[in-house]
Symmetry: C2
Subunit: 240 residues, 2 copies
């Protein structure tokens, strides 16, 4: 192990894509939902478009075009726009829309996530560090279930990753120094932002996160401390 990883005492995890397979979970849930109601829609395409709205909607908050707005609210707004575009808005009342948005609170973990977190938790403090709001993450951690010690969220800092305030805020709440906290994520932009704040970084490859034609985040950028294929390999690497 790299000598300076010996100081790490806490691991914080990106969640969507890194710990949970949002795409398969949402496609499965919305397909079952549509089938039960006799609704026809291209749900894989709907889910990809929904996720496609994610970064632009947070960017409106990050640039100050929108005041602080939680992911739950952003998800609902983009769901409503997409329902219109897919021609299914008339079939969806408020309760149905709320149920669909709540699917983000019930995403399923990747096959290695739970066992890997269990191993890592014996040695490190484990926290989320996600753009999901606290209630979303709390429901997700509880329902998956993901072994975690603390739920840290962009909502606590009213800034979305990759704004520096999120990484600095997490280190401050953990009462420690940046080099004692490692961000674990499947996304290079998140890891590079954490590294700029002095945190340690671990890339976990999730080459199917965005489906079969994924063309980004297939490997770690230069400068990331550790690159692994799953959380079991991360536990091996960190001696957990």
């Amino acid at each position: 192990m790299n000598a300076d990883l010996r100081d790490v005492e806490a691991l914080v995890f990106d969640v969507f894509g890194t710990l949970v397979d949002w795409r398969t979970s949402l496609i499965d849930d919305l397909t079952a939902f549509g089938d039960a109601r006799g609704m026809r829609a291209d749900w894989p395409s709907f889910v990809d478009d929904w996720r496609g709205e994610y970064v632009p909607s947070m960017d409106r908050v990050r640039r100050g075009t929108l005041p602080w707005t939680t992911i739950d609210v952003l998800h609902r707004e983009s769901f409503d726009r997409l329902a219109q575009r897919y021609g299914i808005a008339g079939e969806l009342d408020g309760a149905a829309r709320a149920w669909c948005v709540d699917r983000w609170h019930r995403l399923r973990p990747w096959p290695d996530s739970v066992a890997g977190l269990e191993r890592l938790r014996r040695r490190f403090i484990l926290g989320t560090l996600s753009n999901g709001n606290v209630r979303l993450l709390t429901d997700l951690v509880k329902s998956a279930p993901l072994p975690m010690d603390v739920v840290l969220s962009a909502e606590l800092f009213r800034h979305y990753k990759p704004d520096a305030e999120v990484y600095r805020g997490a280190v401050a709440l953990l009462g420690t120094a940046p080099h004692r906290v490692m961000l674990v994520a499947a996304h290079n932009n998140d890891l590079n932002a954490a590294a700029r704040e002095g945190m340690r970084t671990a890339f976990v490859a999730r080459p199917a996160e965005y489906g079969p034609r994924q063309d980004r985040d297939l490997r770690a950028d230069a400068g990331i401390d550790v690159a692994v294929r799953d959380l079991g390999e991360l536990a091996d690497h960190l001696g957990a």
Copy 2:
């Protein structure tokens, strides 16, 4: 069960005194610490005086005499003052003082706490809602261990209980309405403040929290929704 308790979806817990026996834990740890170093001191009295500084030190923050300061820092300041008063300051270097202050991160649960929380967690979201800072609570929840879904702390709101901002902030992060959140505590002033914000309240009797001569918080004030002797009885009452 009272009809309006059926809406409760989350339980938030005071921690010091309600879930963990700070007094016995600290007396045991500091006595062992003193014995190992051949130091003589009246540790039960030291611990009672240390806890006695707790409310006045937070009140300096609450009144604005001090800027926001975490419990860890307040504990260290009061420890240093007491070490002087007890004539043991010369025997304690920085590492020893840090170890003593860290004892608040390692307090032991009351005998009913873990089993009661495990039952309640099957039915409700469980969170801390404590004046302890996030790192202190994270260490405590992990080491006890206390089954919890989310760590909520006064530190997130930069206000100490019983300031209203703490209860309002917890309800907002849980993304729900005040009457859907119940505060569980052994202290009437905390519960009364939560009730003023529209939260549901459960009093757990901890008649030995302050030692054999405890004369406060022996029973619930009028207006508190539920009064129980331990968390098992609370689980019974809430059908968990």
